[in-house]
Symmetry: C2
Subunit: 529 residues, 2 copies
């Protein structure tokens, strides 16, 4: 970036439409500090229906022009956004802390994660092999003659991205969905989460500046504010929008899926809606290190106030072997602090879920304090009671975990077979445990996006192999991931070119492989090491 | 196969459920010969709701066991099915000709296409790189420690496949959807198209025999008959079905999409619903070889009686340059034969569409004969009339093409920008034409799955690079193809394995790469060549 210590962004509270500050909105809302519930300045203004149309029109117009941009150009844009975010780290962390009460070290890490994943996608599109170029050359001697056919992945068109409440940076305005959609060449319109509008505005202005500096069309990016659901619904129903990325509640995600499915032309919705992330502690591990596992699990389910989509919400332990584990789990829960939740809505839903649950409340931490505060709670039940009450497996967003004390392998496997889709499943065990429970692993891998052995699910490494997804209802569409470089496959489709002259082909498809990428050439992989 | 000249399959008219002949159904229907409309023996029996449940239960039970089958085992099964089809070619062609009246050479080619694509998928899964293995190894020195994460594509679960009327073999019981779903490791339940039940039964028995010989679970494959919509609707709504493949009408495809979207757990529907496949003849080509192009286009739009999903249904030609082209197009249309359509329903829909269309009928071939026969028709309109009537772009299934005589480039580009999704778009031109119309190519590639230069869209080469798909309403989901080896990506999802010991990993993910496949290892493509 040209300016390593930039001036702070003065918040204006307005949507950003294709490089312009929006002015129409008159409906105001404010962010709140979860620690004490106080209103934060300035006021933000919800975008109007007309402003939604303007953003989509600009994105649609930008799209055809963008198809000509190279991977290197898009990589440069992503790096420029990443540099802008890093340069504004102090300002971002300060505002995000005000709006979310997330601890400063956590927010510092999230800034690095956000710029890091932008750079990861930059490296992927600069390298270029991700387009899965496939070339089948002509054969005029065959009857009928075999045509020349070449295909590669191409962008879908304007993508609507919804910021998430629980990651004000990494799953928000410049988060994973925005990064992967831009990387693939799609214009992006972000609907900011109303719980952290100031953080969203700062990031939106950084992206807007980067797009301006890049020379790419300004319609490549817009940011829309709204305290309610109108702007989001209008985006998902807009004829110009070609796909949707969302991270949030099950109810919110499903309503977007239903809106998209009812369109004249249904579009893909990638909604990450949460998960209970079952954990299985096998007998060998319980015997070897039950107490250590209890401490680790407690840290994992209370991380970020239990507001991670990968929070372990349910843990299965063999009752006959779990005494030391359970005692430690109860004691660390009792001695733990209370947590600030992100919004008043999350805090009241948490309280309501606690009251509704039929399981035994066997341990609880410090009482809730002021603001949107919540008490840590451990619930317990037996395997047979769990099987009789499928609602037990539903997510409680916040620092609560359900322990299922099961009495035998068959009971546990029956519970596993009955699970719906989750983001993750975790097995804690010895290697011998794993061999003796091969059926558990086989069934679990049909239910989740990621199987973890001897780790905790809350860490989601941003890497090439990561899958942060899973069958419904964990997500709307288990065929993709929202974290890691494979997320670029969400916002693309294959396009074939038959019989085109070399000069009209994208470089990725030209005979002499000017990009030096890995390709499938007449059925043989070539170009790699 | 063990028997190179097998005994003919005696048709029994019953569904095949996990290796067993179904016996419950009592509702009868028959195939018909389109040439004269006569009923064909024997009677076929629609499957019952209970039989649907049995097929799905068997598929669900087979699924977890199948996850352990290797690519080589699945390849062997696909080759065994292909061998069975080739061995039964004479019998299949005879019955398919009775049921469809498609010409014998066309059916002979379709048998070869069907066994050929089964072998293509066999080669893909035997080679193994298609699973897109990604490995990010651990780094304990990092803070926090970097975990070991590995991912690969895994099957979705039981897939329901709907046979198509217009390709009784290549898009039917052992067609592309079945081949790609089985290749990826998914159990398949086919709903046979009622217009060619005998052909379907023969192929279903060949697959059943191959599954039995393979030692894989019998629930891997079932074939269900139904003269109506109940069995199909029950499959799409069944909790055990994880994805749907369909080729057919827009109305049929959309109704399946809507059923799937309303499920408790929505599932992907890959419906290929048809397309008008616009063709653009640029001025240079009109001048150079207008008459030759007219003859070629006529052959393409009447191929198979105009019942190809890639039939060129609309052609744009610059009025000031198109005299010779148009005259030849009219004359070859007038001198052409009539065609047998596949079903009485298609024939009556064709007649109805002819009456409803407002465009000028400028040429017609021989009058329709007996059975489900149809006359070839050329319709003409101007660019401005076309722009004023968006319904002009809708598909007429059968031997009709609409010629749009446009008056200038802007008018043509306006029409292109207004197009919905299509399977293909074709540009006929000189290389200079193409350079002078770069905007046309850029817009077209955002609207279709395949752009063809100087060819005709009706040939769909089965190869690695083919994309037979396209944005809605050509298909339900433009992110995939139903032809070519990339179709295997329809029925899979990525699954990540974190921290698993080598012994618990699939061979594709083990350190020493026992399959010798191409993988993304710590972000670098590596493999065997």
């Amino acid at each position: 970036m040209s300016n390593p210590t930039p001036a702070k962004h003065e918040l204006v509270g307005r949507s950003l439409i294709a490089g312009q500050v929006a002015a129409e909105g008159s409906s105001k809302f404010y962010g709140y500090h979860p620690g004490d519930g106080r209103e934060l300045q300035p006021a933000f203004f919800s975008a109007t229906g007309n402003e939604v149309d303007q953003a989509v029109a600009a994105a649609s117009e930008a799209f055809v022009a963008l198809a000509a941009a190279s991977g290197k150009e898009r990589g440069l844009l992503l790096r420029s956004i990443a540099d802008g975010i890093d340069a504004a780290a102090a300002e971002l962390i300060e505002r995000a802390h005000l709006e979310t009460a997330l601890p400063l070290p956590r927010l510092t890490g999230e800034v690095a994660r956000t710029s890091g994943q932008l750079r990861l996608f930059a490296s992927v599109v600069e390298e270029g092999s991700w387009v899965m170029a496939r070339i089948d050359t002509a054969d005029a001697t065959r009857t009928p003659p075999k045509p020349d056919v070449r295909s590669m992945l191409r962008p879908l068109g304007p993508v609507a991205v919804f910021g998430a409440s629980n990651f004000p940076l990494a799953f928000s305005v410049a988060g994973g969905d925005t990064a992967s959609a831009l990387a693939a060449g799609n214009p992006v319109i972000v609907k900011a989460h109303p719980a952290h509008p100031g953080t969203s505005e700062i990031v939106g202005r950084i992206i807007t500046e980067a797009v301006q500096a890049s020379g790419l069309p300004a319609g490549y990016f817009s940011l829309l504010f709204d305290s309610g659901y109108e702007v989001g619904a209008a985006l998902v129903q807009h004829p110009g929008i070609r796909a949707v990325g969302f991270t949030g509640s099950f109810r919110g995600g499903r309503s977007l899926m239903d809106l998209a499915a009812k369109r004249h032309d249904p579009i893909p919705v990638y909604a990450e809606m949460g998960s209970t992330n079952p954990v299985f502690i096998l007998p060998g591990a319980l015997a070897e290190r039950g107490e250590e596992l209890a401490t680790g699990l407690h840290a994992s389910f209370t991380l970020g106030g239990g507001q991670f989509c990968t929070k372990p919400g349910i843990v299965f332990a063999l009752a006959s072997h779990s005494k030391a584990f359970v005692e430690r789990l109860r004691s660390v829960t009792q001695s733990g602090p209370s947590f600030s939740l992100l919004t008043s809505g999350i805090a009241s839903a948490y309280e309501k879920a606690q009251v509704q649950r039929g399981q035994q409340r066997t341990a609880a931490g410090a009482a809730a304090g002021e603001g949107f505060s919540a008490q840590t709670v451990l619930l317990e039940t037996t395997g047979s009671e769990f099987l009789a009450d499928p609602a037990s497996a539903e997510e409680i967003f916040g620092p609560t975990m359900l322990l299922v004390n099961y009495s035998g392998e068959d009971e546990m496997l029956q519970a596993v077979r009955g699970l719906e889709g989750h983001l993750t499943a975790t097995i804690l065990g010895t290697e011998q445990d794993l061999r003796e429970h091969s059926e558990l692993l086989r069934v679990l891998e049909t239910k989740v996006g990621r199987v973890i052995f001897n780790g905790f699910p809350t860490g989601v490494e941003v890497c090439h192999a990561m899958v942060h997804g899973g069958p419904y209802p964990a997500t709307s569409d288990g065929r993709s991931t929202s974290v890691g470089s494979q997320a670029i496959f969400r916002f693309v489709r294959p396009v074939a070119y038959q019989g085109l002259p070399q000069s009209a082909l994208e470089p990725a498809l030209q005979d002499d492989n000017p990009l030096g990428i890995v390709r499938l050439w007449n059925g043989v992989w070539s170009g790699h090491q």
